[in-house]
């Protein structure tokens, strides 16, 4: 009507600048104290593990027999083990393996879990068979299976990829292949719900083919449960590897991982406490920080909490 009205209307329309969804999520994430602390710790550990060996240059496999079972000192900040190997170097080296195991195993699990979940959720005909398959995997007792697979394929892989890569691939593959089921179930549930959402129906009415609906509409919307599963997956994979070490099924003994170091050091707990303290600490800190990151992600990606 009047000029004034128009001015007022303009003023209202000219609201906050467009913000991307990613930014929203990030904003929310940064507001989660636990998640931020977790991210900081996790980044620190990752960086330390990657660049640490450049600074602390002692070879983790070198045993200085004269300096065995030492406590913390400048030369050996985390002490040495019973063969005189430097613990810091081993923790750093072990961290590379443990973290890589965590990340790669998680990636494998996420891949299979998402694939199976999306296919089962989206295509009615595949639902039955794929869910039976999931049930079957869930019902497979992992431990004996792990043992047998490790025994079966260890040598083949060793000769193809070398002793360390081979066993790494094996362990990572096994942990991955036995831990995708939860993700698959969650993803399937979400896809089933999403499939009924009107925007998927809208895409169908447009004539978008199934695979593009999946890629364009389904995948981005199941990202949040996948991300959360992923963080949990990293933590679980690291723990599983350490349990494998306990049962003697993990990496070769000269190939340190945090779980292995913790296990090997356990009996020395009262002689050189630093031998269990440090691997235990980094292991827990990593799992803890990853968990907190997952918590933060869950909150940040949850539209209810973020508010619209």
């Amino acid at each position: 009507m009047s000029d004034q009205t128009r001015i007022v209307a303009e003023a209202v329309v000219e609201e906050d600048a467009p913000r991307s969804l990613g930014r929203d999520v990030w904003d929310q994430f940064t507001r989660h104290k636990g998640a931020m602390a977790g991210t900081a710790v996790f980044l620190f550990i990752v960086l330390a593990v990657i660049f640490g060996p450049l600074i602390h240059t002692i070879d983790p496999t070198y045993s200085d027999f004269r300096a065995r079972n030492q406590g913390m000192s400048w030369a050996h900040p985390m002490g040495t083990d019973n063969l005189g190997k430097d613990m810091l170097a081993q923790v750093l080296q072990g961290g590379r393996t443990s973290l890589l195991v965590g990340v790669v195993a998680m990636a494998i699990a996420m891949f299979f879990g998402t694939l199976v979940g999306v296919l089962a959720g989206y295509f009615r005909r595949l639902d039955g068979p794929l869910m039976r398959l999931t049930d079957l995997f869930l019902a497979l007792p992992i431990l004996p299976l792990l043992l047998v697979i490790i025994m079966l394929f260890r040598d083949t892989l060793r000769s193809t990829f070398g002793p360390e890569t081979g066993i790494f691939l094996l362990i990572v593959f096994i942990i991955g292949i036995t831990s995708w089921m939860q993700t698959a179930r969650i993803v399937r549930g979400d896809v089933l719900a999403l499939k009924e959402r009107e925007f998927v129906l809208a895409a169908k009415s447009i004539g978008t083919p199934a695979y593009r609906i999946i890629l364009r509409h389904i995948m981005p919307n199941i990202l949040s449960p996948i991300m959360v599963s992923a963080t949990l997956g990293i933590a679980t994979a690291i723990i599983t590897e350490s349990a494998l070490s306990f049962l003697g099924l993990g990496f070769p003994s000269d190939f340190p991982t945090w779980g292995r170091l913790l296990y090997d050091g356990a009996n020395f707990m009262t002689i050189t406490p630093s031998r269990v303290f440090w691997p235990g600490l980094v292991l827990s800190l990593t799992v803890l920080s990853v968990n907190y990151i997952g918590d933060g992600l869950r909150d940040a990606l949850d539209p209810h909490i973020r508010g619209r």
């Binding site: 070198y62 027999f65 019973n82 040598d155 002793p163 003697g248 000269d254 009996n267």
Partner: protein, 547 residues
């Protein structure tokens, strides 16, 4: 000793971290089963803590001198002592021994102690107390059957229906055999716990001092040691393969002490004289293809010299190990002193030897000769002490320019002898492998026979054979034959030493450590005589609780 009454000392708690799976030593060759069963089942004679054979259910050991062994060395006659009773009150007779022989040699029974009856053509009961054993050919050492923990006597009455294919189905019998020993089984939980109580019919009236035995299994060695040395929950713990410093620290708690004894076990490196390269396909690891460098004695000698054995002992064995340069380090009479050069850690000499032999140090720190790199694949079974040893040796060898790749294989695969697995210690598809071997009793004849040419594992004999290095020498084979015909102890000893030295000189075996058994006993436990030649519990009847 001061205790005179049977069963007056209450309960004895023993922990074997590997739990026995049954109590019939004929159906399981495992040490844990053998020793658990030795509370109940007894042989005619056994070895004491010095390795001396002592009469057990007999009055004396038959020898040629006392007429117990025939002049042609083909027969041995044992006479059971007066008044030996089974725990059910029936007398032990020669028929039981005959039965035991039949039981073990039944082809369908799968007897694990069959080798003790090698060459036995007949066992007969001459009368109730006289057992006569006849051999196919002269046996200079006729003490295989019914001697030692491996070959105790079963009660015929109990096992009569359990021969051949029925043997494994007799769970009740296998879990609770009736014996002549100081204890009888009251309850047995496979792989978990066995309980025993004193045998009322035991031949020594005042023994055993303990009324019951709780024989627990499971867990790991370190915690077993802890339960005796630190928490005092148990009286005796067996086979404590734990890093020595841990044991030392636990001992400091004052609840008990570590006991050890040496037998014939030697942790050794086997050197592969054949080429294990996978490129050779089916001919891999056969004598047709000699190893590219390990047949060079300069190399094997250098490898041996470069190992500081003291460190290996210190790191992994402590009081239970000592450096050795012989594959046959005991008993005393058989031990050679000709190879003691290896006791001294001498990398300079090793380097010199290699230089001399033309192995040039390459840029990458690995010696090369004629394009062949001194690079070895070094395998062993999975076990933390072994892996520690591996790591140390790897470093020692790298110091003299030998590249080392380590590999460990699960014990049940490595020692499993599966034809289809490439990882068995017999196939030996590696350059060096490490394990421990020993022999039962005190006679090395069969043991030294392991390195005869005929013992070489190959596809033809389905890789069954004990000559892992694939060492083959006519001279050595001749000595093996000679030993089987020699009866006099001194001559046998000389032969054994010569054979040992020949193996050492050829570099077929690099002995590392003479290993002993390590156990722990509570401070209050008396009478323990640690024995590596027989069951550790051989004299459990004499054990008692200190006041």
């Amino acid at each position: 000793d001061g205790h005179s009454e049977r069963g007056s000392d209450g309960q004895l708690n023993i922990i074997y971290w590997q739990a026995p799976s049954l109590l019939n030593p004929y159906l399981s060759g495992g040490t844990k089963e053998l020793e658990a069963a030795s509370l109940v089942l007894e042989p005619l004679a056994r070895y004491d803590e010095t390795g001396t054979m002592v009469p057990w259910l007999v009055d004396e050991i038959p020898t040629v001198a006392n007429g117990g062994v025939s002049e042609d060395l083909t027969q041995i006659t044992w006479t059971i002592s007066e008044g030996i009773m089974w725990s059910d009150g029936t007398p032990l007779t020669a028929a039981d021994a005959v039965f035991t022989w039949q039981y073990c040699t039944d082809p369908a029974g799968g007897c694990a102690q069959l080798s003790n009856y090698n060459g036995v053509s007949n066992v007969e009961a001459v009368d109730d107390s006289t057992i006569r054993i006849t051999f196919d050919e002269p046996k200079p050492f006729p003490y295989g059957p019914f001697v030692g923990a491996q070959s105790p006597i079963l009660q015929q009455a109990q096992f009569a229906d359990c021969t051949g294919e029925a043997a494994p189905t007799c769970t009740e019998e296998n879990f609770a055999p009736i014996g002549t020993g100081p204890f009888i089984v009251t309850d047995f939980k496979a792989n978990d716990v066995a309980t025993f109580e004193a045998n009322e019919n035991y031949r020594v009236a005042s023994q055993p001092a303990f009324a019951t035995v709780n024989f627990k299994g499971g867990g790991d060695a370190a915690s077993a040691a802890r339960s005796v040395l630190e928490t005092g929950e148990f009286d005796y713990a067996w086979n404590l393969q734990v890093e020595p410093e841990i044991l030392t620290q636990m001992e400091a708690a004052g609840q008990g002490e570590v006991v050890s004894a040496f037998g014939t076990s030697v942790e050794r490196l086997m050197v592969n004289f054949t080429n294990p390269s996978a490129d050779l396909g089916d001919e891999r690891g056969t004598v047709a293809h000699p190893h590219p460098f390990l047949t060079d004695t300069a190399v094997t000698r250098a490898l041996s010299l470069a190992i500081e054995r003291n460190i290996l002992v210190e790191a992994g064995y402590g009081a239970a190990g000592r450096p050795t340069c012989n594959v046959l380090p005991a008993p005393e009479v058989y031990a050679s002193t000709n190879n003691d050069w290896c006791l001294e850690y001498n990398p300079d000499e090793a380097n010199r030897l290699l230089d001399e032999a033309g192995w040039e140090m390459g840029d990458d720190g690995v010696r090369v000769k004629d394009g062949v790199r001194l690079s070895v694949l070094y395998q062993t079974s999975t076990n933390s002490v072994r892996q520690g040893t591996q790591a140390l040796i790897k470093q020692m060898w790298e110091a003299i320019g030998v590249e080392t790749e380590l590999r460990n294989i699960d014990g049940s695969v490595f020692f499993g002898g599966d034809q289809s697995s490439p990882d068995t210690f017999q196939k030996f598809f590696a350059d060096i492998e490490m394990y421990t071997n020993n022999f039962d009793g005190t006679d090395p004849e069969a043991y030294m026979g392991n390195w005869a040419c005929s013992e070489i594992p190959s596809p033809d004999n389905l890789w069954l054979g004990n000559n892992m290095p694939r060492f083959c020498s006519e001279e050595y084979d001749a000595m093996v034959v000679e030993m089987s015909q020699t009866a006099a102890l001194e001559d046998r000893a000389a032969l054994a030493i010569a054979m040992n030295d020949m193996l050492m000189d050829a570099g077929a075996i690099i002995p590392l450590i003479h290993r002993g058994g390590v156990s722990a006993r509570a401070a209050s436990l008396e009478g323990v005589k640690m024995n590596e030649w027989d069951s550790e519990l051989w004299n459990i009847a004499e054990w008692s609780r200190a006041e």
